[in-house]
């Protein structure tokens, strides 16, 4: 009997580019055998080594899943269409290209409340088991994240932290206990997760996330979760997520307020689209400086855990391109629509950031090394010779007017030290300027101030000031 098999776009390359192939067959199994006999590549995509249809390949006869009929033995009638529908959208790489793991009997019992939810079900629970999730931080956000992700049956949980449990953490970081004070957070979190769900494989990274290790670390995971506590690491997590093509489930907190969203540059905005630049250092207090309501990270971290699970399940309604703003004091949730910024330097149309950078420096945490120009000086005698040979030489006196009254060097311009920066335009940058005062100290300050404020011309300090001029060049100039 002649039957049409509809080939999905993703598999057409293995079926000679055809979108439909007609075969002669009596059952679905025969039809697929006939198809794959001619297209060996396709066979690998549809069947596992044991010769069974792969879990993520759905086969429909008309609008019915053959799993609900007689499987590959399903008989086909004349004019039937067989549709091959591989799971692609939303699924993570691990679930789309590999066999999903089976559940043990213990896991069937443990996850029974998930299994009876159609939205999760056996397939979904297996996806969770296959998933590899990396959480950065085991603090306020990382605590509920670690606990709920472990409880939900995430197969592999990567955890990055380098900190030690402090008594002041216990008000909100509920993955750690009183007995853990002084222990490495990662060890304490590992114990708690093992106790909660020994099925979870923990990959512990007791290290600081850096530009050197982030890409290597991220590439082995399906979903990244940002539970860090500072801007520098947040930009690092974002950039490494975008560069490795991973979704970044984001949450952050401040006193009574939280923000959460899912950044996924392949489907929308990234953190830099929302916040192109970090705030100036010191302006936004940390939890240690500003305080935080202990329950707040519990709520925000739990929202993140919720979204991680939905991302893995390929659920609809992911918190994508929506920034959730939560106010625990008013108990109010608000949302803001996010859009990918086409000019985003990282994920926009013409990216300028193509690798990880120095995030401490980006966030202004490193004191910029101010190259202090060495102070150029001349003696009074040298100045006298200069004046004779260089009629354009400017001489600026930065003393006060009453001092100028007492004594002055000929052809000088008075700009008192306090006014020198705002009157900098009165000095010609294209010509050398000699700066002097009484003894050479104020003039050195004036040069430094001018240079720091962007004066680009050559400035030379008169060593010893007008006093030296009086001593060496012109004794008629009074010393005072």
């Amino acid at each position: 009997m002649s039957v049409t098999i509809v080939i999905p776009t993703a598999l057409r390359q293995f079926a000679g580019g055809n979108s439909e192939i007609e075969v002669e067959a009596g059952t679905v199994g025969e039809a697929l055998n006939s198809l794959t006999a001619n297209h060996a590549e396709l066979k690998k995509h549809l069947y596992n080594d044991a010769g069974q249809l792969r879990n993520f390949v759905n086969v429909y006869v008309g609008d019915e899943d053959i799993r609900d009929l007689d499987g590959t033995d399903t008989e086909i009638k004349k004019g039937d269409e067989i549709l091959i529908i591989p799971a692609i959208a939303g699924g993570t790489a691990a679930t789309a290209t590999e066999e999903l793991p089976n559940l043990t009997n213990e896991e069937y019992s443990r996850y029974s409340r998930h299994l009876i939810l159609p939205e999760v079900g056996l397939e979904g629970q297996k996806k969770l088991k296959a998933a590899r999730v990396l959480t950065i931080g085991t603090g306020g956000l990382g605590s509920p994240l670690g606990l709920y992700l472990a409880a939900a049956g995430i197969g592999t949980l990567g955890v990055v932290d380098f900190d030690v449990v402090d008594e002041s953490n216990l008000q909100r970081q509920i993955i750690h206990g009183t007995k853990d004070v002084g222990r490495a957070k990662i060890a304490s979190a590992q114990d708690r997760i093992n106790d909660l769900n020994p099925n979870v494989k923990i990959e512990a990274f007791e290290t600081r996330l850096t530009s050197e290790n982030a890409l290597e670390l991220f590439k082995d995971f399906d979903v990244i979760v940002d539970g860090t506590d500072n801007f520098a690491t947040r930009y690092l997590v974002n950039d490494a997520s975008v560069l490795t093509g991973k979704p970044n489930v984001y949450g952050s907190i401040f006193r009574f307020e939280g923000q959460a969203t899912v950044f996924d540059a392949t489907r929308g905005a990234c953190y830099r689209c929302l916040y192109p630049e970090p705030p100036p250092p010191g302006l936004v207090p940390s939890c240690a400086e500003g305080g935080v309501l202990g329950v707040l990270p519990g709520i925000v971290g739990t929202i993140q855990a919720n979204e991680v699970i939905k991302v893995i399940l390929g659920a609809e309604g992911i918190l994508l391109n929506r920034l959730l703003l939560f106010d625990a004091w008013k108990m109010r949730f608000r949302e803001l629509k996010l859009k990918k910024n086409p000019n985003c330097p990282l994920c926009g149309e013409n990216p300028t950031i193509t690798g990880l950078i120095d995030y401490e420096e980006f966030c202004g945490l490193k004191q910029p090394v101010v190259e202090e120009k060495p102070l150029e000086e001349i003696t009074a005698t040298e100045l006298k010779n200069w004046i004779e040979t260089n009629p354009n030489l400017q001489i600026i006196d930065v003393r006060e007017p009453h001092e100028f009254e007492i004594a002055k060097i000929p052809n000088t311009k008075l700009i008192p030290l306090g006014e020198v920066v705002k009157r900098a335009h009165e000095i010609n940058e294209r010509e050398t300027a000699i700066i002097h005062c009484k003894g050479g100290v104020r003039s050195a300050k004036a040069i430094k101030a001018l240079q720091e404020n962007g004066y680009n011309g050559r400035l030379i300090n008169l060593k010893g000031g007008i006093t030296a001029w009086s001593d060496e060049v012109d004794s008629s100039v009074p010393k005072y």
Partner: protein, 77 residues
């Protein structure tokens, strides 16, 4: 018109919500600028502006029935 403040902007302003009156068909950017003039410390921050829960480009025409929001990034975890 209702103006919402989040994060540190709420502390600078001393309120999470303000009611202000604007003239009919005001440009959003002008309304934001006026708020910044009243609370100059806001200008030290990297601010995000929203009109009716969407990012503001600043050129939306707004009325007293609209809702503005001003907020900053937070980093705690």
């Amino acid at each position: 018109m209702r103006v919402l403040f989040f994060g540190q902007t709420a502390e600078i302003v001393g309120a999470r919500e303000l009611e202000i009156l604007i003239e009919k068909s005001t440009i959003a950017g002008e309304a934001f600028a006026e708020i910044l003039e009243q609370y100059p410390s806001l200008k030290e921050h990297k601010l995000l502006f929203a009109v009716n829960q969407e990012y503001s480009s600043g050129d939306e025409v707004i009325n007293n029935s609209d809702e503005l929001a001003i907020f900053t990034a937070v980093s705690g975890g």
